[in-house]
Symmetry: C2
Subunit: 158 residues, 2 copies
């Protein structure tokens, strides 16, 4: 196929990263990430709506827009989607509410978020950084890792 010779592995090749995983495993990694991306935004919206309801008693599209740093039109469109997915109920010009299912998703999402956030803090990451990192990481942490993070945080609590 190729007449290139294999690049000789230097003795310190671990510094240059591990070997390539077998194709199927590698593919599965990327697939998992792609799938996570599909649900990620949905979860973020639902989680935020849950947070707003809990802390403010209501969740208005305008609040979501400013907290997400996104236009109201975008939020409006998104709410329609959440509606179709059966995650929220909405009457125009009224606060949003979560359905049973939406509530469950919000809970799960927030629990994950908190575990990651508290873990990062326990690790010694500064608060603001921890918040940002947690927001990005939360959708990519498996249950297994999550469990380990929770145990770690408990152990390293002040």
């Amino acid at each position: 196929m190729s007449d290139h010779e294999q690049p000789p592995l230097p003795p310190n090749s671990r510094l240059s990263g591990d070997a390539l995983p077998p194709v199927e495993q590698h593919a599965q990694q990327y697939e998992t990430v792609r799938n996570a991306h599909e649900t990620e935004l949905i979860e973020d919206y639902v989680e935020l709506i849950g947070d707003l309801l809990r802390h403010r008693g209501e969740a208005r599209a305008a609040d979501i827009a400013s907290r997400m740093a996104v236009s109201q039109a975008t939020v409006s469109k998104m709410i329609r989607r959440l509606n179709e997915l059966g995650l929220v109920t909405s009457r125009p010009y009224r606060s949003l509410f979560l359905t049973e299912e939406g509530h469950k998703m919000a809970e799960t999402s927030r629990a994950r978020h908190d575990i990651v956030l508290h873990f990062l803090r326990a690790l010694g990451v500064r608060d603001n950084t921890a918040r940002i990192d947690a927001e990005g990481m939360e959708h990519h942490v498996s249950d297994e890792t999550l469990a380990i993070m929770r145990r770690f945080t408990e152990k390293h609590q002040t």
Copy 2:
């Protein structure tokens, strides 16, 4: 604005998640994540191309397609983009190569990936899970956290 009363904070309210961050901070979190998403895929492709070059001596579109679990057409399109971005050079029907800049990106990306992967392993996460989580997490870990992860891994090395 709303006649809803604030939900009373139960004493164990930490279990129910932290307070809402101020709007600007909250917005910044989401913006950071959105920005990460834009570069994420690009970095994944470049990183994979770098890995293939290093381990195989060449990077063919077909290999990328199977390792990413994506159609060849998708890869082809993506390569055009990478070209426009000045990250790879490609002659039709030939192996890809990374430009200077592409090489740098691949290195950085791989370094980050490795730090996260080794950190997860050091934490006690099973290998396959660690791989999957690392793939998703790597683009969302700040330099600060990365540094902490690296130190942790060194300390907890067998």
